[in-house]
């Protein structure tokens, strides 16, 4: 549906030039819920604005359904946006807002009226049709913004952090609502967020961005379980990073020796690895701790701090190598706390829990 080829976006010129996007390549499929995830200033909103046509690329091209749209103005693109602050027209009613795009496209009056009613039903706002936009709640404004952007039946719907202004409960509701709307309308959604949980729960695929580059594109599961680098691992979920030495690569297996002592054989997910120093990722919830057995191959450490979280408990350890390590263990009502700060413990984990990073 959308093909983004080698797009770079530079703001300003000369010494004040700022590169907002660098060599972006993405293909977004038809009917996909695609999320751009990253910290603020990573370029995700710029990329969205490029797709909408509010900005034009410095280099590269953008194809929509096979047609180059790089230089088309926003009012000529079959793409609509749900803005972060909704940007509802304050001098029009709810219905007036939804009808706006259709009127601009010159659709006949009867069709406009019919579509507005259908959209109001779609977002469940029938009874607020003639209200002023200032008289409705934030959640309702959100729905009107969605209806307004969906009414002209765009090929792609762009959503710029649309849920960030809502409170937690409403946000959860709208997440489900958005998924429903997407499957009912069959429109491609491109969703921008900095909230990793939102991205993981809603998306078909996620592009993780930082500093103007895309670091990884993949399904939520791929991104979480097999992050390609330290940034992606760090941005999504909690992470332990340990230094290790990789050796004896054979087919899809290799031997890994931790700086903290232990040696294990691990499965390899990637082919671009070679012998030498590497960083590995271990998710805190993928390990458990036990009494040390005295085995020299064990990963051991001292508990520095125990933090109770209700559902689980975090154990902050200092490993024998001096590296910090965090283990997250689910709490069990039948089990009383048996460890205290200062205890020496061993870290247990499955070899599959170890993920070798590219940097």
């Amino acid at each position: 549906m959308i093909e983004i080829r080698n797009i770079t976006k530079v703001f300003g010129a000369g010494e004040h030039a700022v590169t907002a996007l660098q060599e972006i390549n993405v293909n977004i499929a038809e009917n996909e819920f695609f999320t751009l995830l990253g910290p603020s200033g990573c370029g995700k909103t710029t990329l969205l604005r490029l797709i909408a046509g509010f900005e034009h690329p410095s280099t590269g091209s953008m194809l929509l359904a096979g047609e180059d749209i790089s230089l088309l103005p926003p009012n000529k693109r079959p793409v609509n946006t749900v803005f972060q602050n909704y940007a509802l027209f304050p001098h029009m009613t709810v219905a007036g807002n939804i009808a706006f795009g259709l009127e601009m496209l010159g659709r006949p009056k009867a069709e406009v009226a019919e579509t507005v009613d259908r959209m109001l039903r779609l977002v469940r706002m029938e009874e607020l049709k003639n209200r002023q936009t200032s008289e409705i709640s934030g959640g309702q404004q959100q729905r009107v913004a969605l209806a307004r952007a969906l009414a002209p039946q765009p090929k792609v719907l762009l959503l710029d952090e649309p849920l960030s202004a809502l409170d937690l409960k409403l946000r959860k509701e709208m997440q489900i609502e958005l998924k429903r709307l997407q499957s009912e309308t069959g429109i491609t959604f491109v969703f921008v967020t900095h909230d990793q949980e939102e991205a993981l729960t809603m998306s078909d695929r996620i592009a993780v961005m930082n500093a103007g580059r895309i670091h990884q594109i993949g399904s939520p599961r791929q991104i979480y379980d097999h992050p390609e680098n330290r940034f992606v691992a760090n941005f999504i979920g909690d992470s332990n990073f340990l230094n290790a030495k990789l050796g004896n690569i054979k087919d899809d297996q290799a031997e890994l020796e931790f700086a903290a002592g232990r040696k294990v054989t691990v499965p390899l997910h990637r082919a671009d690895l070679s012998d030498g120093e590497v960083s590995v990722l271990i998710r805190p919830e993928h390990v458990s701790i036990a009494e040390p057995t005295g085995n020299s191959h064990e990963l051991t450490g001292v508990i520095e701090n125990i933090v109770y979280f209700g559902t689980d408990t975090h154990y902050h350890l200092k490993l024998a190598s001096g590296e910090a390590f965090m283990a997250r263990l689910q709490n069990n009502p039948s089990e009383a706390e048996k460890r205290a700060a200062g205890d020496k413990v061993a870290v247990l984990m499955d070899a599959k829990a170890i993920q070798i990073l590219r940097d």
Binding site: F54, P74, N75, V79, N80, F83, A87, P90, F100, P152
Partner: protein
Amino acid sequence: MADFSLFSRRFDVKRVPGFASVALGVFVMLYMPVILLVVYSFNKGTNLAFWEGFSLRWYVQAYHNEAVQEAAFRSLYLALIAATLATTAATMAALATTRTKKFRGQMLIYTLINQPLMVPEIVTAVALLIFFAMIKVATGHTGMIYLIVAHTAFCIPFAYLPIRARLESMDLTLETAAADLYASPWMTFRRVTLPLMWPGIVAGLMLAFVVSLDDVVITEFVKSAGQETLPTFMLGQLRRVVTPEVNAISTVLMAVSVIFVAMFFVLTGRKN
């Protein structure tokens, strides 16, 4: 925070002793002369000092005074034309100078538009007197055009300020949203920008109208013979015997100002 009464003795960080009394005194002092002026405009007697009973005779007299009628009519149509021209020019200038990256010459435009506010009115009046005297000698034409252009010029900054303030408080994404919804630049302006900036334009128009209606100094210097406006007519009257007729005209002028200020407050106070 609890509302506290004017002279509450409870501790309040905001209270400074004596300030409330001074302020109330100021308000009394500010309104007493004006109220007296209004009251005496309804006085039956000729004497300005003693109350001799309610009467509308000074209003009737002013109304039938041909000089007053003529001056009032001239004031009104001068203010109407000047305010309309000034507001049109100011609206265009406000659109040009707001909501943009700084561009070369922007400061020059600001300074020039606000220039009439920076120079004492008497100096501008003298300058126009000299300038128009040259033109009048050269062309022999002595019409209302001189007053109209002079009023338009000094009304522009007054019309410009509320329009610019309105534009700057407007959300730029609204126009982006319109473009996203297939509106051409012209349709975006007609359907979104213009309706949203409308209260600012009306406020600017009213301000310019009041300023033109109230002007004394520039009008006094620019007018040709027989081009009295209400304020210059009154100023001329003051040289002679003061009658309550002047009070009556003042009261009407004041009422117009109050109505306009009230409307201005309503228009600019309401946020979106």
